[in-house]
Symmetry: D2
Subunit: 175 residues, 4 copies
Amino acid sequence: MSQAQDGSIADNLRDFHDSTIVGAIMKHETENAGYEDRIRASFAKQGLMATLGAALIKVAPGLVEIAIHPAPAISQQHGFVHGGAVSAIADSAAGYAALSLMPPDRGVLTTEFKINLVAPAAGDRIIARGRVIKAGRTLTLAQTEVFAESGGQEKLIALLTATMMAVEGRDGVSD
Amino acid sequence: MSQAQDGSIADNLRDFHDSTIVGAIMKHETENAGYEDRIRASFAKQGLMATLGAALIKVAPGLVEIAIHPAPAISQQHGFVHGGAVSAIADSAAGYAALSLMPPDRGVLTTEFKINLVAPAAGDRIIARGRVIKAGRTLTLAQTEVFAESGGQEKLIALLTATMMAVEGRDGVSD
Amino acid sequence: MSQAQDGSIADNLRDFHDSTIVGAIMKHETENAGYEDRIRASFAKQGLMATLGAALIKVAPGLVEIAIHPAPAISQQHGFVHGGAVSAIADSAAGYAALSLMPPDRGVLTTEFKINLVAPAAGDRIIARGRVIKAGRTLTLAQTEVFAESGGQEKLIALLTATMMAVEGRDGVSD
Amino acid sequence: MSQAQDGSIADNLRDFHDSTIVGAIMKHETENAGYEDRIRASFAKQGLMATLGAALIKVAPGLVEIAIHPAPAISQQHGFVHGGAVSAIADSAAGYAALSLMPPDRGVLTTEFKINLVAPAAGDRIIARGRVIKAGRTLTLAQTEVFAESGGQEKLIALLTATMMAVEGRDGVSD
C-alpha cells in the first residue's frame, strides 16, 4: 500500500469514486437539530468510554469520531491496544453516527457488528471514524474506519460494519 | 488529515473524503502485468457465474466489477434477486479484486465474508464493485458495494466485506 | 424462549446445554401450525434454489435443511462449489428456520449474514442446516452449519450467522 | 417445544447432535501440555482484562471462559454493559480457546470477528464461553457464546464468531 498513483488508474477509478458509498453521506440531514448536545450527553454516560480514556473528537450529521490513546490499561498481551477496546470506540462511533440522524424520540441499539483488524493498534492515537451508509426506518447500516496516528501519519488498522436498530420509548432507551 | 470542527458539513466531509478508504485504492499496483487475462480466464471457469448470467464488467488493479440481470432463475420468493446470488457476485468481485494484486504464483481463497442487504435487489441490472482495502502478505481485506441500476440511477443495495487468503501452489489453486 | 426443559432429553443434552447454543432449539414453538406447507410453497418460488438444484431436506420448528449436489454449473474456478452457492442455501436454510416460528401474517427478510468458509465445498452432497438461535419480536438470529457429505461422512465446511427481520404486510412480503 | 416432525424430539436432536459443531470440541487435543499456564500468563498481561475486571473462569483444550461483573465503569449510556466490553471478553475467550490448541512456538492474532448482541448485557455476571470450531494450519475459527447470569439462570445475550491467525515468531508475538 505504498505505491504512487498514476494517471490511468485514477481515470479508471473516477466513475467508481462518483458512486461510492462515501458520496451518500453528503446527503445526510438530521431530524434533530440538537443532535450534537444529545450525543455529547449520551457519550458522557457511557462509563466504558471514560474507563478507556476515550474522547469524542467530532460530531456531524451521519459522522462521529472517537479517539483513544494507547496505554497499558487498554492493552492486549503484546502491548498493542486490545481489539475489544478498538471495537468499543468503533461501535460507539458507528452508533452515534446513526443517532445523529434520528428524531429526538428515537434511540439506537447495536444489533450486530463485524470488525476486521488489519494492523496492530499502536501509535500516538487511535481514531475511529463512524459514518452512516444507509439510514432506514428500522435499521441503519454504519461503518467505522479506525486509524492509528503516528507522527502525523494515519494508517488504517480496522474496519467495522454495524447494524443499528432504532428503538422508540422502550427498554428505557432514550439516547 | 486535519478536519476543522466548525466548518460546513461539506467542508467536514471534504477532508473526510480525503482520508476515506476509497483513496487507498488509487495506490494499488499489481505485481502481475497479466492480471486482467488471468482474471478473465478464471472467471470463465466459474460455472456459477455463467449459471447466474454474470458478466465481468471491469478489471483494474484492486478493482473488479461484476453484473447480473434480475430474472426468475435467480430470484427469491418475492421475485427480487436472491441474496445468495447477490453474495455470489459480490464475493467473486472482491476475490478478483484481491487476485488482481497477486503475483502470478499466488491465488486467493475467500475465508469469510459478511454482507448487509439494505434494499431489495431489483431493477435493470445489479452491479457489484469489489475493491481491495488492505492487501497483506497472507490476508487481503476487500469490500464490495452492490448497486441496483434502474433508469440510469444507481442505488446501494448491499455491502460485503471479505477476507481473502493468499495460497501458493497448494490444493490445486492457481487462479 | 423461557420454557423449562423436561426429563430425558434434557439429560442427554445437559453437557451441551451448559456451554452451547444447541440447548436453545429445544424450546422453539411455532406460532403457525401450517409452517411446513408455507415453507415448502415459498421454497418452490425461489427460482435460485431450482437453478442451483437445491432440495428442501427437512423442515421442523426452528430447523431447516437444504442440500445441493456439487456440479460444474455451481462451481468456482477450482471446481469446488462456489462460496456464493454455499451461501445461498445456507441463507435460505437460516431464513426458513426463522420463518418456521413466525405467525402466518409475518414474513422474514435477511438483513445481513456472515459466513466462514473453512474447507473446500466438495463431495457427494452439500447440506446446510439452519436453526434459530434467538427469536425476537423484530429480529431473529439464526445460524447455519454447512457440511460436505462424502462416503457417508460429514465434514463441516462453512458456518453462517444471519439476522432476519420480521416484516408484516409490506413490500408484498407474505412468505 | 412440542412439535416433532416425524419421530420424537430425541430422534430429531440425535442426528442433529451427531453432526453439530459442538461434537468437534470433544476431539480437541492440544499440542502444548502447558497450555493452561501459558494462557493464564498471557491473560495476566492483557491490561484491558484487568481494567474491565475480567476473570479467567475456565481453561480447557479448545474451550475458555471469561467473566465480568456489570458495573458503571464498563457501561453504555443505558446502564447495560457496553457492547465493546462484551466483545472484548468474547474475543479474548475465542482467542485463548484457539491458543490452547497451538504448539508452544505459535501464537494467535484475531483477524476479524462478528458479534450479534441479542439481549441487554445485565445481571449478576456476564460469562463468555469461547470454543474452537475448526482449527486449521493458518486460520482457526472460534465461536463465543455470551450469557448473562441472573439468580442462577443463564440467558444468551451475544454470539461472536472469530477468525484467528496463527503467527510464528514474528511481531514479537509469543503468546
